[in-house]
Symmetry: C2
Subunit: 317 residues, 2 copies
Amino acid sequence: VLAGLGGASEATQRRIEKAVNELGYRRNRMASGLRSQRSTLVGVVIPDLQNPFFTGIVGGIEEVLHEAGYTIFLANSGSDPDREKAEVSMLRSERICGLLIVPSACSASLYQELSDGELPAVAIDRVPDGLVMDSVRVANEEGAYLAVKCLLEAGHRGIALVNGPVDIGVAREREAGYLRALAEAQVAVRPEWTVSGAFDSEAGYELTKDLLERKDSPEALFVGSFMTALGALRAVTELGLKVPDEVALIAFDDMPWAPAMNPPLSAVAQPVREMGRKAAQLLLERLRDPELEVRSLVLDTELVVRDSCGTRKRVMR
Amino acid sequence: VLAGLGGASEATQRRIEKAVNELGYRRNRMASGLRSQRSTLVGVVIPDLQNPFFTGIVGGIEEVLHEAGYTIFLANSGSDPDREKAEVSMLRSERICGLLIVPSACSASLYQELSDGELPAVAIDRVPDGLVMDSVRVANEEGAYLAVKCLLEAGHRGIALVNGPVDIGVAREREAGYLRALAEAQVAVRPEWTVSGAFDSEAGYELTKDLLERKDSPEALFVGSFMTALGALRAVTELGLKVPDEVALIAFDDMPWAPAMNPPLSAVAQPVREMGRKAAQLLLERLRDPELEVRSLVLDTELVVRDSCGTRKRVMR
DNA sequence: CTGAAAGCGCTAACAT
DNA sequence: ATGTTAGCGCTTTCAG
């Protein structure tokens, strides 16, 4: 009856349900999982629980996994490869049946293990170099290209890139988009205007401050993430500069509060929930059929233009 | 050796470690938990994974629980009492040894079960009425009082309260603080200026819009949460009003991006991480000694005054 | 349709 | 210091 197999008489069923209620019986999943060698636990590992971008992904995952009767086990790697490895190991100990992961860094051995297919897994947002595994990510190069193009069309020429860590593919792809846009507009690249650090507010602050304190400073910034933009904004304000008139700015990641910021932030919006949903679907399909070929989904971004990228008369020459 | 009891010779230890590595052995926690009737899994239930306030709490929890060797199992109730009940039930099935919960609503039967002490649990932020259980919350009445007082000192008299759901104690306490501040300043209370809805952006928008479209509208808003403030800000902007000159605003919840908003948001900051840390500590202590008396911690808030509450000449009379 | 029995991988208590 | 054994609560298989 409890297994829902439906091989019991109505009366027995009722009798059992009554007993369950009276005794407060609850199936022991440890015993159950131990015996059946199955579980409906899916591990989810993200770099930072505090970051709305990652929790948005988890929201999407939850939506489809919950529907399918799976339970998610969430772990937080703190962007630390060692911790990430430990968390995955713990999840495996907990006998998860599959893994959804936003990789933190290139802990090759860990990912190798995953791509072996021993544990069904899908990588989200970032796919470690040279690994063949199911994944969902975003068209970073294209998104960055559009953002920088928007800055160029607003008349800016001196555009700096305040990027995330280059050992994360995402950051390299965004740099590629930045370079393509500049090349297309025949704007000379100034390598000293490409800086990078963590995807957080502190790095955004330091890098931007350093950039803007130079004698020869850029007039526009393309910034790698929302948290980075927050730090950049703080640096700009501290130096007494105005956005967008003195420094224009456009960032990756859109947030519900971007329109309420000062000035309203232009951003490359990522389909955050959708990334989570798609990843969960890929996992579900693989669970159903482990022989499936490897699939990589690339979702599109959307450019949301608000005030922070400014409009400047184009300098013709 | 694996249990870390240290009753083995160096050589055996090494031999075992070698075997573990070679075979890729990983302890099966299901079997282990089943046999020992213990677990180091702590369930954490929050209303909304997307809300930085709650994820901040989880951050604090993680900090101390991780340190103590526990693993957290995170569940998301979506502010739905039924779902909350289901999640807790699932967590119990998963044989958690303790529970940390930010209650969504007054699902009395669930909380009754928890306060029975059958499962060690501590309530965070909100404590269901009339329940005696370990808890950590914030001095909401005092925080609200200070916020409204700040508005009063800026010269505002017509102050509305855009509150969260009144069936959550937090909202009622904030209302009490609002009323105390008005009473103290001998400002007449206008009941039609106290409105309430969900703690989200949509509710903030609707309630504020309704409030400001009236003939006789308030000149200042005390808003129940950050997400509510976001909606309120949208309504204000849509009506073509300026903050703080035409409508002043102060909100509960501070956020890292509050200073970068337009205008910089005044807020009642809650010690979010600390709430999580303290709750985890309470649980750890109770796990160690189930006979401990029930403890309720109340943490202080801090008023952060920025531009959104405005300064208006006091009207003497 | 219902009952009985074996065993999942581990831990704890006991024997060597 | 190491080896042996029973049994945690369940699922699965086989008998009635």
